[in-house]
């Protein structure tokens, strides 16, 4: 068969597969991720308020740090006891977008490769899923910082 014909056939087949494959229903999954993601934020806000009440002398920045750590610890704990993947499957971006998703991705990779040893398994694979997030986060924040300081030097 000619390459041209194969291309045509593949295109038709692709269209057919696309047509018969079931799609994820958009509205229900949006609703699910909305309420789970929103609830996560509400819980974080409650923790933040509680910390503010408990440590009135500590600065707001530090309290934000505490709150983030607490949320991360909760997410890692839920990953460890095998709840978070079910939550993620249910809520999608609602579970994945807050910092909980990042914590889950690292913890799950670490757990998964524990059988190859602590160093060559877990520690090597920690960043197998979240690596791009780190790389892009560091690179682009550096670029933004550079631009910011250049503008400051020129204007001010």
């Amino acid at each position: 068969m000619q390459a041209e014909q194969i291309k045509k056939r593949n295109k038709r087949y692709d269209k057919y597969v696309e047509a018969v494959s079931p799609k994820t229903a958009m509205l229900p999954s949006l609703a699910k991720s909305f309420w789970v993601g929103g609830l996560t934020c509400v819980i974080a806000q409650i923790i933040f308020e509680l910390y503010t009440l408990a440590f009135p002398s500590v600065s707001e920045q530090a309290i934000i740090g505490f709150t983030l750590s607490t949320i991360i610890i909760i997410a890692v704990f839920l990953t460890g006891i095998g709840v978070f993947d079910k939550l993620g499957r249910y809520a999608g971006a609602g579970a994945f977008l807050p910092i909980t998703g990042f914590a889950n991705a690292m913890a799950s990779a670490g757990m998964e490769f524990r059988s190859e040893g602590l160093i060559f398994g877990s520690q090597v694979k920690f960043f197998s899923v979240v690596g791009p997030v780190l790389v892009n986060g560091i690179v682009w924040s550096t670029v933004a910082g550079l631009i910011h300081s250049i503008i400051n030097a020129v204007v001010g």
């Binding site: 056939r9 692709d14 990953t79 095998g82 978070f84 993620g88 757990m111 059988s115 899923v129």
Partner: protein
């Protein structure tokens, strides 16, 4: 791809616009007007008429016994009660080791049932989904059986049956064990994300079966052994090795779509080479196309003029219930192996099925090839089992 279009089903787009109106055949599984189709259609299958893909076994190749080991989830499925053993999963053991011990258990179970000794087994044909097929290699190491490692993704089981039968037919071996295994967690680790990672799967994805199956083939040299299978002696009469077929699917989650064309190719070849029509089989069963993939195969086959009726099903459809949250059904090298050795052999024993075509399908991909933008080719090997 064959270019003779006989009838078109509702969703078929890809063989040109000529031919009949769609309205008459709106459903997939169709009407009396199509009843006569297969035979007339097969005369047009010129592509495969001179095929050398099918081997006919003139010397008897008997199936002596089958062993199947599954995990909890599979044992709760519709065919769960037919499996020999339910494997207790232990989180302290690495998944790969679990897969290995399941495979070993399946092989020893099968040997015990066939009343042979390990020393009677001339060769173990085995394969799995892991890199360098380690589970099979280690099982062969531990059991001390000569080993022939195979890899054909999820179609490894029929590849093993076909290869084992060929060697027996040629007279080189007397007794051959054919085994495959797969494990949900080790396959996930190999091909997808970490297990506890909270990612969503598309609804057309499939669930890798945790299980291992082993079939014992024999030339029946010792007449006593033939009575084991309660006076039924199922034989492998022919085997059709498949071509690698690629229709350009690139979505890793859509295995059914990637493998359905290869299943069609081998099915057409098997039918035209053996001369049987679809109705001649009590059961035509594909390996792990899943619900979606098997519906696609029905569509594709109908387009070629082959009506797959009630006697067609898929191992991946049988193994899980729709309530078990396994999306389109089971997949993996263990899927066809456990369903065949558990369910189908039992049905043969009860003489419900007299002629079966088992067509296990496999998707030939690696995590790297997918990232490099390669499409996913499929392969399908078929065997015909008769009593």
């Amino acid at each position: 791809m064959l270019n003779k279009t006989i009838h078109k089903s509702k969703n078929a787009y890809f063989l040109g616009k000529d031919s009949v109106d769609y309205a008459r055949h709106n459903s997939h599984y169709v009407t009396h007007t199509l009843r006569e189709m297969p035979k007339t259609a097969l005369t047009h299958c010129k592509v495969t008429s001179k095929s050398r893909q099918t081997l006919f076994f003139s010397n008897p190749v008997y199936i002596l016994s089958g062993g199947s080991v599954v995990a909890k989830r599979e044992s709760k499925g519709p065919v769960g009660k037919y499996f020999d053993k339910v494997f207790e999963e232990n989180i302290k053991i690495p998944f790969e080791k679990e897969e290995l011990s399941m495979l070993k258990k399946a092989i020893t179970l099968c040997i015990d049932k066939s009343k042979l000794k390990i020393s009677d087994i001339d060769m173990l044909f085995a394969g799995d989904l892991l890199n360098q097929i380690t589970s099979s290699c280690f099982a062969a190491r531990d059991l001390k059986i000569p080993f022939f490692g195979l890899y054909s993704a999820c179609s490894t089981f029929t590849q093993a049956l076909a290869s084992g039968a060929s060697f027996i037919n040629a007279g080189y071996f007397d007794n051959v064990a054919c085994a495959t295994a797969s494990h949900f967690a080790s396959a996930e680790r190999q091909f997808r994300n970490p297990l506890e990672y909270g990612a969503q799967r598309p609804p057309y994805s499939q669930w890798t079966v945790t299980g291992a199956g082993c079939t014992m083939l024999s030339n029946g040299g010792d007449n006593d052994i033939l009575n084991i299978f309660s006076n039924v002696s199922p034989r492998i009469t022919s085997a059709t090795y498949g071509k690698v077929v690629d229709f350009g699917i690139k979505d890793v989650a859509n295995m059914g779509g990637a493998m359905a064309p290869s299943a069609l190719d081998t099915l057409i070849c098997l039918l035209s080479d053996t001369g049987y029509s679809v109705e001649d089989f009590d059961l035509i069963i594909t390996g792990d196309l899943g619900k979606l993939g098997s519906d696609m195969l029905r569509d594709l086959a109908l387009e070629q003029g082959i009506l797959l009726g009630k006697n067609y099903t898929d191992c991946g459809v049988l193994i899980y219930d729709s309530t078990q949250d396994c999306y389109q059904g089971g997949s993996g090298a263990g899927c066809s192996a456990v369903v065949f050795n558990g369910f189908i052999l039992e049905m043969i024993k009860q003489k419900r099925y007299k002629r079966i075509a088992l067509l296990a399908t496999g998707a030939l991909l690696s995590p790297q090839s997918v990232l490099q933008g390669e499409s996913i080719p499929g392969i399908c090997h078929g065997v015909v089992i008769e009593i």
